[in-house]
Amino acid sequence: MLDTIKKLSGETLFLIVLGAGASFLFQWWAIAPMFVAIMAFLNPPAGRAFAAGFLAGSMCWGLYAAYLDSTNAGRLSGQIGKIFMGLSAAQLNYITATIGGLVGGFAATTGSTLRGLFAR
């Protein structure tokens, strides 16, 4: 169990660092190919891959958004929320984290199952 948590944490951290780097440089979907490649390389079980991918994706997106929002004192998110049916800044942040998480999770699983195709 502890071993799994350790591995999960390590993989997540790895994904976050490379995912954030790719996101700064490339398109919004940059974490998808990045996570596919990383998880194909690391080859964790599909379940753990999804967990690591989801955690990394949501943290990558959610934490960065939360940081930008905090330095802006919620000025912009309050106004964007009004356009989206009155969502609060926190709700916008959850949506952001969830999108990042889902893309990250399914990308990581795709990487892991892709590797699985070639496993002996």
Binding site: W28, T71, T113
Partner: protein
């Protein structure tokens, strides 16, 4: 099994990415693709500027750095001091370089606004926004705006100096756009899933034409013709007099027009004045089309708010030096219509407000002079009824000739759907207003000043004014300014003051300006323009002041006919205040800009109260009457009696002119009489037939209507008090809308004022820039507009001047003398080089 797991996983990922890349439409609203929009590395979160950085950066986009920003083509070094309001103070070695950097910085703050405001005149809004603006684009074509831009471009190309300055500004804007990554696009583009395109000289001219359009597009020809037809000339003359003898025109008659030889006999008033008989349509009957375009319909039931400017001579100020004041009343939007800037070169040091997209300063001051503008409300558009000779409506009669219309098919590109094709028919008098050959509007041609080729010096006029050092240079800078005609007010540190209602004024009879004409007999419409030397002006008036509030330019003794709009009360109030002014300071100027007294109250309330039969009122109503008797007529935000008077006036007006309101009720567009006409009738002829409602058997008189309307007003007033609309501020909100009407980006504030007070506030319209300049040897100024320098809703500078504006406060204008000038308000210095 492994394969299935992979396919499931990869398939889900692919579906997710597709869904997140697609802009779905829900209930008619198209959402941006959510993946890109929510991604914090490139989506809307990137527009959430850090508050601390924003104090030093421009729009959060250009960070201050040790290295100079490079812009290709700069001839020298340019240094920019950014102040605490994010106002750039540009120091350049020459004007071209200054304009390059002005373009660059304006784009960094206002790119989306520049795009939207130029697209409107080009008929290209739908390309960016989608189907909901097709009608606006279509109207732009039918009013001839893209044609106007085309002609302005052709004219400007004939002036190498104008082109050089225009190109410099365009280069600056494009240098900014070229460096822009999608992550830094203005948030509106992200919402619309669009990208900015490169700026062009045509775009700048389109911004100018758009401004002209918003100032001189009003036209009452159709409604006036209808009124004349329905009312007959006697009633029409009574209810729509051309001149109010109580008003105070901008230019006083000092005998300067005696012996003036009028340029064209057909334009002289002796011919035009009595032609209010509808003679243009000898066939008589109901020949004026009743369907009309919203766009051309003046909102007559709401009082039009305009602008104020004035200059006072040293004889009226505490320092003995002149002062100048200007508050142009325009649409109040976020971002604001204006962008503050200081431009310093070896030849000039100029501060003021610019129009995003246009080089130079539009309203402002330099080390020697100050200037401001209000709109001249003289009508510069005419409608002509076209008699088509073929079913396709391509040929029409003009005198004995048959003329062919220039028929053009234009393509309006629409985001998310196929382009819309529209047919334009352009007669020698102007384009016709509808594509639909079955529509009555297809028979109306529109001759409109902005469609004419403008002066080639459109760009240089303001740039020359920016560096003018004295009265003569001011006059020379504006002498070819043609449209939209403006009352240019002036003051100098050497003590001169002046005002020039400068513009191009078509020569035609007053009747031609007022009514729809017959294209078949109208020849070329206008026979020319009022010659420059006959345009009125005033210099160093003996009154010690010059002023304008969009009222009549001249008294009736001026030999050319005038046909214009705007209620006169604001001008009269300003005149009173200026007459009484002594030992003026900037504070007394501010108190005039913020004056929320309604002159209409002085004109109407005493007579109304006198006519009221108080024996018929209960104690509660008597209490209100007594309060009204001592009311000061000031529309402050917490005023209650202001609501009561507003309701009483409206009810009395509607009861008196019920024949007009009944037509409005049927959906007709109706021009209604001015308020002063009503109260003059009330004072002079309370038994006039106009007060009788012809649909009732009883014969009503003015006192009866005054009584009834008071009862109605009190009922509504008490209802307002009971429903949380108890104060004037609750009763009418002051909304500042976003330029693309994005609801989340709008603001509302609580303000004093009334559309027809000097502080002419109403929702979405009002004092767009309040400026006061004290022309001491070392010039000092203060200004404020309802917004902020940044167009980014995520910036503190999006609305950091708004509350000050609402509260009637000003910011001192930081007028720096040199690039190395130190000041506590300077937050950062930016360098630009080739």
């Amino acid at each position: 099994m492994r394969f299935v797991r992979f396919i499931l996983s990869a398939g889900t990922l692919a579906a997710l990415l597709w869904a997140l890349s697609t802009g779905f439409t829900i209930k008619g609203n198209t959402l941006p693709p959510l993946g890109a929009f929510f991604n914090p590395f490139s989506g809307f979160w990137q527009n959430a500027e850090a508050n601390t950085a924003a104090l030093g950066a421009i729009g959060g986009v250009i960070a201050p750095s040790a290295n100079a920003h490079r812009i290709a083509g700069l001839k020298g070094k340019v240094s920019v001091s950014m102040d605490d309001l994010a106002i750039p103070h540009i120091f350049a070695e020459n004007l071209e370089d200054a304009l390059v950097v002005q373009g660059y910085l304006t784009a960094s703050d206002r790119l989306f606004q520049m795009d939207i405001s130029s697209r409107k005149s080009l008929g290209r809004l739908s390309e960016l926004v989608g189907a909901r603006t097709i009608e606006i684009d279509r109207q732009s074509y039918h009013k001839g705006l893209p044609l106007a831009v085309e002609r302005a471009m052709a004219a400007t190309k004939r002036s190498p100096e104008s082109m050089r300055m225009l190109d410099a500004y365009v280069r600056g804007v494009n240098a900014y756009i070229a460096n822009l990554t999608p992550a830094k696009y203005p948030v509106e583009y992200k919402l619309m899933n669009a990208a900015p395109e490169l700026w062009t000289p045509e775009r700048t001219l389109a911004v100018i034409e758009g401004m002209a359009e918003s100032l001189v597009a009003r036209n009452d020809d159709v409604e006036n013709s209808q009124n004349l037809e329905i009312l007959g000339s006697e009633t029409y003359n009574l209810l729509f007099p051309r001149y109010n003898p109580d008003q105070t025109p901008i230019i006083k008659d000092h005998g300067q027009w005696k012996g003036m030889k009028v340029a064209s006999p057909s334009a002289s008033k002796s011919v035009g004045q009595d032609k209010r008989t509808g003679a243009a349509f000898p066939e008589g009957g109901n020949k004026i089309p009743r369907e009309w375009d919203e766009q051309y319909h003046p909102e007559r039931h709401e009082i039009r708010s305009g602008s104020n400017n004035w200059a006072v001579a040293g004889s009226k100020t505490a320092t003995g030096k002149p002062m100048l004041s200007n508050d142009p009343h325009l649409s109040l939007t976020l971002p604001s219509i204006w962008y503050q800037v200081q431009i310093h070169t070896p030849e000039q040091n100029t501060y003021g407000v610019s129009l995003p997209g246009v080089p130079g300063v539009i309203i402002g001051f330099n080390e020697h002079i100050a200037w401001g503008m209000t709109n001249v409300s003289h009508d510069v558009g005419d409608f002509y009824r076209v008699k088509w000779l073929d079913a396709e409506k391509t040929k029409y009669a003009s005198g004995a000739e048959t003329k062919a219309a220039d028929v053009r098919v234009v393509e309006i590109k629409v985001k998310g759907q196929n382009a819309v094709l529209d047919t334009l028919r352009i007669t020698h008098l102007g384009p016709v207003l509808s594509t639909d050959t079955a529509s009555a509007q297809c028979n109306l041609a529109y001759q409109w000043l902005p469609q004419m080729e403008p002066s080639p010096d459109l760009i240089m006029e303001f740039l020359n004014l920016n560096k003018a050092k004295n009265y003569d240079e001011y006059r020379s800078a504006i002498k070819h300014f043609d449209v939209p005609a403006q009352n240019f007010v002036f003051a100098s540190t050497t003590g001169d003051i002046g005002i020039t209602p400068q513009g191009k004024y078509p020569l035609r009879s007053a009747a031609a300006a007022e009514f729809v004409q017959d294209a078949a007999t109208a020849g070329n419409g206008w026979t020319g323009f009022i010659p420059d030397e006959h345009i009125p002006f005033e210099k160093n008036s003996v009154r010690g002041y010059v002023y304008s509030a969009n009222q009549h330019t001249t008294p009736p003794s001026y030999p050319y006919p005038y046909y214009g709009y705007f209620d006169d009360y604001r001008g009269r109030r300003l005149h009173h205040r200026l007459e009484a002014l002594k030992q003026a300071t900037p504070d007394s100027m501010a108190s005039m800009q913020l004056d929320c007294h309604l002159q209409l109250v002085d004109d109407a309330l005493p007579t109304m109260l006198k006519m009221l039969d108080t024996t018929k009122l209960d104690a509660a109503k008597m209490l209100l009457v007594n309060e009204l008797r001592t009311w000061d007529g000031n529309y402050t935000r917490d005023s209650k009696l202001g609501i009561l008077f507003e309701l009483w006036h409206a009810a009395f007006y509607d009861a008196t002119f019920e024949d007009f309101t009944a037509r409005e009720g049927k959906g007709e567009k109706v021009v209604i009489p001015d308020n002063w006409v009503l109260y003059k009738l009330l004072r002079t002829n309370p038994n006039h037939a106009q007060f009788d409602n012809t649909t009732t058997p009883e014969k009503e008189t003015a006192p009866m209507l005054v009584q009834q309307s008071f009862e109605t007003a009190v009922t509504e007033y008490l209802k307002a008090q009971a429903t949380g609309k108890g104060t004037w501020a609750d009763f009418r909100a002051t909304d500042i809308v976003h330029i693309a009407r994005i609801p989340g980006f709008a603001k509302n504030v609580v303000t004093d004022g009334h559309p027809n007070a000097l502080n002419a506030n109403k929702s979405g319209h009002g004092p767009s820039w309040r400026m006061i300049v004290d022309l001491q040897d070392s010039i000092r100024a203060q200004g404020v507009y309802p917004g902020g320098q940044s167009g980014n809703p995520g910036s503190v500078h999006y609305d950091d001047m708004l509350q000050h504006w609402a509260d009637g406060k000003y910011f001192e204008s930081l007028f720096l003398k040199s690039a190395d000038a130190q000041h506590a308000r300077i937050r950062s210095i930016l360098q630009f080089t080739n």
